[in-house]
């Protein structure tokens, strides 16, 4: 039987992943669902954020406290890392400040990469754009994999232990709470943003770009801002992934996991609907983890590794959803329009727009 202890471990294992993927999917939802920008290079900003966590904070501490003693940070990683963790474990304030700094820096990197990818995005037609973004997505991974002095090349790097000052059993709870908290904050932010006039403007551009332009809106600038914002969120998500795994290796970032899967989550859950996206993330993460849990039982009946069933299941699910429920499990909410009576009341000055019930 399943004990409560197992359930707690299952949740603790899963929650950080759900949190990180929720942030990636929400940022994609902002771009594609609300803005209509088909970002097929989501992995670019995600890997940017993750690589920053691998590259910056550790080297920063090593440089400030002269822990490397002139040695190469990546060649002598196994030597230098424990010293960094020692320094951080002794100083909670420094650890926390460094963590906040790292997260902000990851968002900035994501925003910067978003800015770069926004140059083609605002000019190109849908299909050219998708092809360009897809190809751009791989660049950073390629550099990370080959250039040793970014994140250690093929070997990868460890992430400094930001929570080293917390005793062991509670540490993982705190990390989980932190990541989940971040995800919830992002969710509230995106939800408020998309309900704001800016969100409605974004939708109007998605539905009819020419109309929005004719009404005096700067379509290019709105699109660019959206891509930069989504990039920042994706960078944050990358940092969250790096914190979850505790190490960064370019090999773990790819088109399938960080572009395609968020697309699946958004489309299955429901594009242009943040609750739908959240549901999509939950459904996907929980079911794929359950497959992992029951892997051994399944393995007895199959002549190949069970992990390869996941791509088949995923793609089939997505195709079924695309065919039979194209707007996802929770479709986009209809825009509330005023009743003719209310409209007349506003026109004659009896009511104000803000009084809407």
């Amino acid at each position: 039987m399943i004990s409560p202890d197992q359930v707690i471990r299952f949740v603790l294992d899963l929650a950080p992943w759900i949190a990180a993927y929720l942030v990636i999917s929400l940022s994609l939802n902002l771009e594609y669902g609300f803005g209509g920008i088909p970002n097929f290079g989501k992995v670019l900003c995600v890997s940017g954020g993750a690589f920053l966590v691998g590259a910056l904070p550790g080297q920063l501490i090593a440089a400030i406290y002269n822990l490397g003693e002139g040695l190469n940070y990546f060649d002598n990683h196994a030597q230098i890392m424990p010293r960094i963790n020692d320094v951080l474990a002794r100083d909670p304030l420094l650890s926390t400040a460094l963590l906040i700094f790292t997260l902000v820096a990851a968002m900035l990197v994501g925003a910067g990469l978003g800015l770069i990818s926004s140059f083609p995005s605002v000019r190109l037609r849908e299909e050219y754009l998708a092809m360009t973004l897809l190809a751009m997505g791989e660049i950073l991974i390629l550099i990370g994999d080959n250039y040793k002095n970014l994140i250690g090349g093929t070997l990868g790097v460890f992430v400094p232990s930001f929570l080293g000052w917390i005793p062991v059993p509670t540490r993982s709870y705190v990390l989980t709470a932190l990541l989940v908290g971040l995800a919830v904050m992002v969710f509230i932010f995106v939800e408020l943003l998309t309900k704001s006039p800016y969100g409605r403007l974004l939708k109007s551009i998605r539905d009819d770009e020419v109309l929005a332009q004719a009404l005096g809106r700067d379509v290019v600038s709105v699109k660019r801002k959206t891509i930069i914002l989504a990039g920042a969120l994706a960078g944050l998500a990358g940092a969250m992934l790096a914190l979850t795994t505790g190490a960064v290796n370019a090999k773990n970032y790819n088109r399938a996991n960080h572009t395609f899967i968020p697309w699946v989550m958004v489309l299955v859950g429901g594009a242009a609907n943040n609750w739908g996206t959240a549901l999509g993330v939950m459904v996907f993460m929980i079911s794929s983890r359950l497959i992992d849990v029951f892997k051994r039982e399944l393995q007895l009946y199959l002549p190949f590794d069970v992990v390869w069933l996941t791509p088949l299941l995923l793609s089939t699910t997505l195709l079924i959803v695309m065919f039979f429920r194209p707007s996802g499990i929770i479709p986009e909410a209809r825009t509330q329009t005023l009743k003719p009576k209310e409209l007349d009341a506003i026109k004659t000055g009896q009511r104000r727009l803000s009084d809407r019930s």
Partner: protein
């Protein structure tokens, strides 16, 4: 002995040209880039790998099978996934996601097969190039000749097919004006299926050449996708012969530029070679977005 650099350039160009002409052909029919096009390469490549590794026979014996399999999968993708979605009025972005989904599906199937065959027959099926199975004619690797021949032959055959045969003309008509073609009694569905079959089989063929020269993994085709895109975009994305030329150019650039840089002493840079197609893509989109074919037409016009 022929310089390996020349072989590399020619083989790479051949693979890029064969695969990008297919991408362009399918793009012309659906107006949506097929993100699963790289998977046809993977399929063709693994056909050769299994044949060679399990039966220890020459991969060239299954040249036809690689092409046929690629074509069949391509038609299946069009018939089962894309066409029904289009009939339901799916947006281009939706169709693109569907092609990405197909790519993911094929990746799953290829991984399962690789795992199964690898375990059952105890052979190596990943990171393997079949160079040892290649034949040499006058100390020239056969794959280079095959690459050259397939580019030249497919250019000639496609030209004859599209301009001199009734079916080819009907195919062009269905692409350029589907409504009018239908009025004239052309079965445009069948024509599109034919286009997808040609595209897939050229992809399968390119995959076999890939396996003969470069190490194959189950993601080989997907990793090659940016090169295919760059070739097609260089060719203008809607010109069949443009993309053939684009493929040859991108393929050549892909192996010549790193060699030139390495000759200058920057050997470290070679590993960043996958960035080259991307650079080509960006430069083309920024300077000649209609591709090289538009350039020649403009040039001809000014010359007149």
């Amino acid at each position: 002995m022929i310089d390996p650099a020349i072989v590399n350039t020619l083989v790479f160009s051949g693979i890029a040209a064969m695969s990008s002409v297919g991408l362009t052909l399918t793009y012309l029919t659906t107006r949506v880039p097929n993100f699963a096009h790289g998977s046809f390469l993977t399929i063709g490549a693994y056909m050769a790998v299994y044949w060679a590794q399990i039966l220890q026979r020459s991969p060239y014996e299954v040249l036809w099978a690689s092409a046929l399999l690629g074509g069949v999968v391509s038609v299946a993708q069009y018939k089962i996934v894309l066409n029904p979605l289009r009939r339901r009025g799916a947006s281009p972005t939706y169709q693109m996601i569907a092609t990405l989904t197909v790519a993911f599906f094929i990746f799953g199937v290829m991984s399962i097969l690789a795992d199964y065959f690898g375990k059952t027959y105890k052979v190596r099926v990943n990171y393997i190039a079949l160079r040892s199975f290649d034949l040499e004619i006058a100390s020239i690797p056969l794959v280079m000749l095959l690459s050259l021949a397939s580019v030249i032959l497919s250019t000639i055959l496609l030209y004859i097919f599209l301009n001199k045969t009734r079916t080819g003309v009907a195919l062009r008509a269905s692409i350029e004006n589907p409504d009018l073609a239908q009025v004239l009694g052309i079965n445009i569905e069948r024509m599109y299926m034919l286009a997808w079959f040609i595209a897939g089989s050229l992809g399968g063929l390119a995959g076999l050449m890939y396996a003969m020269w470069l190490p194959v993994t189950t993601t080989a085709g997907d990793e090659f996708l940016p090169t295919i895109f760059a070739s097609s975009i260089l060719g203008g994305l809607s010109s069949i012969f443009g993309s053939l030329a684009g493929g040859v150019l991108v393929g050549a650039a892909n192996s010549l530029i790193p060699q030139m840089i390495a000759a200058l002493g920057f050997t470290e840079i070679i590993q960043y070679r996958p960035i080259i197609p991307l650079l080509i893509m960006s430069i083309v989109l920024l300077t000649i977005p209609q591709g090289i074919t538009s350039m020649t037409i403009r040039w001809v016009r000014t010359a007149r």
